[in-house]
């Protein structure tokens, strides 16, 4: 049965769906990292994180449009727009934390959560008013490479760029967290915040840094997916945010490898559901999977059950 199912469309079709799943999964993973890092450190679901991704897409849109008017080469546009989006989104992430979450650090857990939802709605409407409610055609930033020609019907150049960029970002993040001074401080803070303070770590700065890194990753996701899909509007952050949040929960919220795994599992599920069943059912499968996994493993794929602190 499964065999027939898988081979309807042949091997090539399967591989095509697989890569399109990886592409989606990469984007989900990039955004999910922001959710999971923030949750790991301050135990907050930052519902405004999807909006950070949307702002990243808008920033790169503006920068790319301006630069292409001045006739910059494509590669320069991609890199500059990417950097600008990452920096601008980081500034937003940093500011949101300062304004909307830090004053509520010692409030009941529900308060910053509501504040996050408020921030999310505020930012959506801010972009709606400041920019436009229409879909904007996003310039195709990533050109088709010639060497991709033979396999172009299976894996597009954009897919490849998205997958590789995501892999590089994740590798960099892993090194940062494992080996650097700030990475160690982040791990220590997520394990025991009071103790981290007592050994001299400026916890406020670590939290700011977490928001900055998470926002930069989301912005990279924003520019990648926008140039892949070809259009953006103020609402894209909501859907992407919900999906990435799902990915983070699926993988075990608070766990960094979990967010990546969750992103890929979700992306592949959606892709295969779309390809073999119907695109109408992609969300049914995605969220059905979430329910199933949480039923059998409530802490997520790589999540750990909460350890009772003595």
């Amino acid at each position: 049965m499964l065999r027939v199912f898988l081979w309807s469309g042949g091997m090539e079709y399967f591989i095509e769906l697989f890569f399109s799943g990886l592409t989606r999964g990469s984007i989900y993973a990039l955004i999910a990292l922001g959710y999971t890092m923030v949750y790991g450190i301050i135990g907050l679901i930052n519902f405004a994180h999807g909006e950070i991704y949307m702002i990243g897409a808008f920033t790169s849109y503006i920068i790319a449009t301006v630069l292409s008017i001045y006739g910059f080469p494509v590669l320069a546009i991609v890199v500059l727009a990417g950097f600008a989006a990452a920096i601008w989104s980081s500034a937003y992430g940093f500011t949101i934390e300062k304004l909307a979450y830090r004053p509520l650090r010692h409030a009941p857990r529900l308060s910053p959560l509501i504040s996050a939802i408020g921030m999310s709605i505020f930012l959506q409407n801010y972009v709606l008013l400041a920019q436009t409610s229409d879909f904007l055609a996003f310039p195709e930033l990533i050109p088709d490479f010639d060497f991709m020609e033979p396999v172009a019907h299976i894996v597009g150049t954009t897919d490849l760029v998205i997958i590789l960029t995501t892999a590089a970002a994740m590798f960099g993040l892993t090194l940062l967290i494992k080996f650097t001074r700030i990475g160690k401080a982040m791990r220590a803070t997520s394990q025991d915040r009071t103790m981290a303070m007592l050994v001299g770590i400026n916890v406020d700065r670590v939290i700011s840094m977490t928001f900055i890194i998470g926002s930069a990753l989301a912005a990279i996701g924003g520019i990648l997916i926008a140039s892949h899909i070809g259009q953006i509007n103020f609402y894209i952050g909501f859907i992407a945010g919900i999906k990435a949040f799902t990915a983070a929960v699926l993988g075990g919220i608070g766990s960094i490898p979990g967010a990546v795994l969750g992103g890929f599992v979700l992306g592949l599920t959606e892709s295969f559901a779309t390809g073999y069943v119907s695109s109408d059912y992609e969300d049914v499968f995605a969220f059905g999977l979430l329910v199933l996994i949480l039923l059998f493993k409530p802490s997520g794929l790589l999540g750990r059950a909460d350890i009772q602190k003595v």
Binding site: T180, R181, I182, G183, A188, Q191, M195, L198, V199, G200
Partner: protein, 262 residues
């Protein structure tokens, strides 16, 4: 030996209507080992929390005088700022970063004495690399002193109980404190582990480390301390040398209670 590096005056801490600390005075001189003892619930740990910035005391002053610098009033500072000023502490129950290695736990203590940031981590310039090397070197030195160098790359959670306690002291030392606060360092230790701990504290003292400790193990307290402060119900009820405290009737009463026919 006689310059006070920590001076606590009229310290008070209220939680609602409860006075956990009441008009408490305490001082520690440079190079001295001072013990703070008292029955359970006397407010010893609350005192530590007030001094290290976890609580903001509701009354009084906590003044720290690092050698060769002007005095600093600590009230209202955050714990990380207190650590930066040169006071480090351990906890009654073990609070290591369990999912990090032994070496990393000590390296974390060096955080406030180093300053490479994210850009340095990306560029990996000479200054960053030097700082990293120095951090590893100094942390390893501390592990040797604690007798933990063989376990440098083990997870902290895999150490034996006594070793975890020593690692906590090592992590505190990594912040380069001139005053070390130990909250019941011998709690739960067997006699042999306690003996090793006494040796370790003695070694630190000979190196000039000033120490303030809370402890219930009277053998350890009497053997190590230069001076002892005794607390009960949030107040200081006695202060003196081990000999004086041992024979002080007020202290004996606080610990054993008053017999009905006395």
């Amino acid at each position: 030996m006689s310059t006070p590096i920590l001076q606590v005056k009229n310290l008070g801490m209220r939680f609602g209507g409860i006075k956990a600390l009441d008009d408490l005075d305490l001082d520690v001189n440079s190079g001295e080992i001072v013990a703070l003892i008292g029955p359970n619930g006397a407010g010893k740990t609350t005192f530590f929390n007030c001094v290290t910035g976890i609580y903001n005391p509701t009354q009084g002053d906590v003044v720290l005088t690092p050698p060769g610098t002007p005095a600093i009033r600590l009230n209202g500072l955050k714990p990380n700022q207190v650590a930066e000023k040169g006071m480090a502490r351990t906890f009654q129950n073990i609070r290591l970063f369990q999912k990090m290695t032994v070496l990393e736990n000590v390296m974390i203590g060096r955080h406030c004495r180093t300053n490479s940031f994210i850009l340095g981590a990306i560029l990996r310039n000479t200054a960053t690399r030097q700082e990293e090397q120095e951090t590893i070197h100094k942390s390893y030195k501390i592990l040797q002193k604690m007798g933990l160098e063989k376990h440098a790359n083990d997870l902290a959670s895999n150490l034996s109980y006594g070793a975890q306690r020593r690692l906590e002291i090592g992590r505190a030392l990594a912040t380069e404190p001139f005053l070390l606060l130990l909250d019941e360092p011998a709690a739960g230790m067997n006699p042999q582990e306690t003996q090793e701990l006494i040796k370790l504290i003695n070694l630190l003292q000979r190196e000039g480390q000033s120490i303030l400790l809370i402890e219930h193990d009277m053998k350890l307290v009497m053997e190590l301390s230069h001076r002892i402060f005794v607390m009960d119900y949030g107040r200081r009820i006695a202060m003196g040398t081990p000999e004086e405290i041992r024979n002080n009737p007020v202290v004996i009463k606080a610990y054993l209670g008053e017999s009905a026919d006395a």
